[in-house]
Symmetry: C2
Subunit: 269 residues, 2 copies
């Protein structure tokens, strides 16, 4: 078992729900990473839908309270099963507290991958060896997290000034990512990679926790083995709200996943 | 009452659900417009949450079966009420058939609108008088719809070639829109405007119906009175799937709403 597969493992209960266990190895601050929870919840959905609908195509969820290390219950409900797609709702609870709820469309992503009629090109930025490892980041509450040790994450030097107190102000963070233990990416783990990078709000000078209000991710292709490239951007930041758009390309340069989240950030000024 | 307010009017039932009536005045082909349903369902959510959380901030839904003219039942469930936001689920049914289900974050959008720290600028394109009215479009299944008569819609001549069989291939449609009866835009109706334009897939040569699989919209500011500008774009089209991104600016040039949907299109070649 890899770290990731161990973290998202579920056992089924007689009532149609599933049990998992959240570890602080996937925490950042006090909370367990939302991207891990998105993948873990989808494992229950995979089990509930037909076998040939095993990939998340769309995943939209609201985060209702922070998840903490400990037992978790996952309850999927299939809403519709069609020829090429199934739609489900999934609810994640700890005790009586609902952590999040999502609406998920499942299918076979490889059957929707060809031909490529239009394609978001991968941006040009330094290769892995010339990017800055997150493990070189200065000590802070953020870097003292289990989560960051689960990934090998390398950030474009042009978009890492915020870690030194000098955000670019562009509203963009680029870099490379893979699992630290070498597990290769797949459609399920793309949900986790979409939410693994530092929040793009940091590049605009936000401080502290950036909670996700709503998150929607799309998986567009089965990723090839190797490093993934990620670009986070935001176009509109008003008051303490911003949308964060993520794009993920695989090692062949193919766009494999997209997401947008609305998040709440605190700005120093 | 305006056309729109009449179409989204609901009456509450003793069991906590709401009843509405769908008219073919908001249909396109056989189906009632998804954007109208999004606003109508949110009316029930507005009634279920605290009065000061009356605006949709995020709206994410899955479309399970096409809605048809006739009676509709709307069932909201409040999942969480916080100080500045409430979160709810809403289900729309006709008879025993679930039409769609959505997760909605409600709040006071004006309390998140200032300061504007970063902002997606409105694109430059011809003014209303130099755009092409949808009422001038050649007769087709698409234009013989009640829906198009509810709006005054003017498309940028540079992005309307598809209506004459000559799509630009850019994957972009721009234009102006307002309600035909002069009703001014508000946060609720922005949900409808986000899904009112012809699908961007037409600009890439798709033919026929473009069903929405998943739709997520964000309302970012209370719109000023007057015309709205809309830009639809897509970056990645593979197989028969594409994401469609919409942005809406009000008459002051302020970005007031954003959305993304994953849709399924048929391409001639």
């Amino acid at each position: 078992m890899t770290d990731f597969d161990d973290a998202i493992a579920l056992t089924s209960a007689a009532d149609g729900t599933y049990r998992g266990s959240l570890s602080d190895e996937w925490s950042i601050g006090e909370a367990v990473n939302g991207g891990l929870l998105m993948a873990l919840s989808t494992v229950a959905v995979v089990d509930a839908v037909p076998e040939h609908h095993a990939h998340p195509l769309t995943w939209s969820g609201v985060f209702l309270s922070p998840a903490v290390p400990g037992e978790v219950t996952v309850a999927p409900t299939v809403l519709r099963t069609g020829r090429t797609m199934s739609t489900a709702e999934v609810i994640v609870r700890q005790g009586d507290s609902e952590r999040f709820r999502a609406l998920v469309t499942m299918g076979d992503v490889s059957s929707h991958a060809e031909p490529v009629r239009k394609h978001s090109p991968m941006p040009t930025f330094p290769d892995v060896e010339h990017c800055v490892s997150a493990s070189e980041a200065p000590p802070s509450a953020l870097t003292k997290s289990g989560l960051l040790q689960r990934f090998d994450m390398r950030l474009d030097p042009a978009t890492v000034g915020w870690a030194l107190g000098d955000p670019s102000g562009m509203g963009e963070i680029r870099g490379w990512i893979r699992f630290a233990d070498g597990r290769e990416p797949d459609p399920l783990s793309l949900l986790t990679f979409l939410d693994a990078f530092p929040p793009v709000a940091f590049d605009l000078g936000s401080v502290g926790w950036v909670p996700t209000i709503e998150f929607t991710g799309y998986v567009r292709a089965v990723p090839a083995a190797g490093w993934l490239a990620i670009r986070l951007r935001t176009s509109t930041v008003t008051g303490n709200l911003l949308e964060e758009d993520a794009e993920v390309w695989d090692s062949t340069g193919r766009l494999v996943a997209q997401s947008r989240q609305l998040a709440s950030a605190r700005f120093a000024a």
